[in-house]
């Protein structure tokens, strides 16, 4: 029983991480109709940046985090201004799923390449915010970083829910992805919503990476796996429902932990790819794969 509870706790922690990345993907897709395949790379950039500044350059941790998050936000803002703005706001063409896919995929590859060149291949993590051994209640062990991750996920979930459900601005953000022309007619600046939510989700991903990195180290190539998990979880939520994406992310994390514990950790990837397969088979429309040639 205690083994099960410990695996469950590990699964909830991992699931909270997947859930938040999935929510970031879902909320931005809701506004822009574009998948953010670079979300994991923003997390990686957050972790490696803080590790470099605080451990190699010996900056104060708070300053390192602040500078790092501002840098990630600035990068996201620049990408929107230099690429997405020209691609989405000025062109009149109806962008197909493949074209849209490559905007952020290219960003992901770019971040990975530059990070590899500048910071190398070492596994790194940001310093822990809450040092000490795992907390124990009877036979139940929870890592302190895991508790921080779960707490942060709950706070983010509540804030997102409040924003989308109770504010006019949240409704307007949803409206942008529903109809660009409709949103312009009522005076909503869809490009502005897209830009600021892209920046906000990039910063949030970096923050989550920093908080969870003491449990799992990051390398320059950690981003795509995180992004893929987020995309799978968000895909089951039709890419537009952050709340459901969090639940699916949690389920993926728990399934991964239980199978890793009772079967083998080698099967963790099987979970991911089985979920992706199920998504393609049962939810092909949200991936733009259901069009039948006529």
């Amino acid at each position: 029983m205690s083994n099960f509870l410990n695996l469950l706790a590990a699964g909830v922690t991992a699931g909270a991480i997947y859930g938040v990345f999935a929510a970031c993907i879902a909320i931005w897709f809701r506004v822009s109709n574009v998948l953010n395949l670079a979300i994991g790379d923003f997390a990686m950039l957050g972790v490696l940046g803080v590790a470099e500044l605080s451990q190699v350059d010996h900056w104060n941790l708070a300053v390192s985090i602040l500078v790092d998050l501002v840098g990630v936000g600035l990068l996201a803002w620049l990408f929107d201004w230099l690429v997405l703005h020209f691609a989405l706001d000025r062109g009149q063409a109806d962008h197909g799923i493949v074209t849209v896919f490559f905007y952020t995929f290219a960003l992901s590859l770019g971040i990975e390449g530059v990070t590899l060149a500048v910071l190398g291949t070492d596994v790194r993590s940001a310093p822990a915010f809450w040092n000490g051994p795992a907390l124990e209640v009877a036979d139940f062990h929870v890592q302190r970083a895991g508790l921080l991750v779960i707490g942060l996920a709950i706070v983010v979930g509540i804030l997102l829910w409040t924003y989308l459900r109770t504010t006019v601005s949240g409704r307007a953000a949803s409206a942008c992805g529903e109809s660009v022309i409709g949103s312009r007619i009522v005076g909503i600046d869809a490009a502005r919503y897209r830009r600021w939510l892209f920046v906000a989700t990039a910063v949030l991903a970096a923050l989550f990476g920093i908080v969870e990195s003491p449990m799992n180290g990051f390398t320059y190539s950690s981003g795509p796996t995180i992004s893929l998990l987020g995309v799978v979880a968000a895909g089951f939520a039709a890419f537009r429902r952050p709340g459901r994406a969090v639940v699916i992310g949690l389920a993926l994390g728990i399934a991964e932990a239980l199978i890793g514990g009772y079967v083998s950790t080698s099967y963790n990837d099987v979970i991911l790819y089985a979920a992706l397969f199920a998504l393609i088979v049962f939810q092909p429309r949200v991936l733009g794969l259901s069009t039948v040639p006529t």
Binding site: T166, V168, A172, A175, I185, R240
Partner: protein, 237 residues
Amino acid sequence: MVDGNAIVEASEVSVRYGKFLAVERASLSLRRGECVALIGPNGHGKSSFVNALCGLVARRGEVRLDGALVAARDPKSALRAGLVLVPERRHLFPALSVRDNVLLGGYAKNRRVRADRAFADVAEVMEVFPELAPHLDRPAGALSGGQQQMVALARAMAARPRIVVLDEPCLGLAEAVSRRVYEWLTMMSRQELTILLVEENPVQALEVADRAVEMYKGVLDDPEVVAAVQQAEVSAS
């Protein structure tokens, strides 16, 4: 020439899509409380003209509302001045509820308040559309075409417009629903709302309009130009 009682003054408005000139130097003024029908065949620039008035497409020429210039390609500028468009094919937010669609009509004024307060602010609009009351929490995309048109009208009224531009409001609707739209138009024109009604069908449009102007080949109601264009067509054929 400036009409002292004009609320909308569009002068020499041209719209071009690449090499194609959709609207050529069209001028139109609307007096306060007037209902004007903009008629003409499909594909002759009516929608392009009203989209240019409302700042949705790039244009040449000037649009003034009560003397103040409305910026080109800036729908917010037109909205601030009280000019609201009910577009062809409605362009609602299909996955959002009817309530959300209507409250977003008042987005320009209420964007910083809570959603429930924003809806309360525009709730009186719903009194004009009692048929929508049972559907407030349903997604707009799940409603019939006629109900969706009512949502589009309610969304426009939530912006508290001074001028409403309706682009083919009865396109694709059943006869009974078209009647309902025209009842609403009649009621609004009695309330001194300024209306520009784009219609392909002049007979229907003139039921409510005070006057009609015709757009033909992107040219607005200059009888000599229209006749010249038609003559050129006859000669060519």
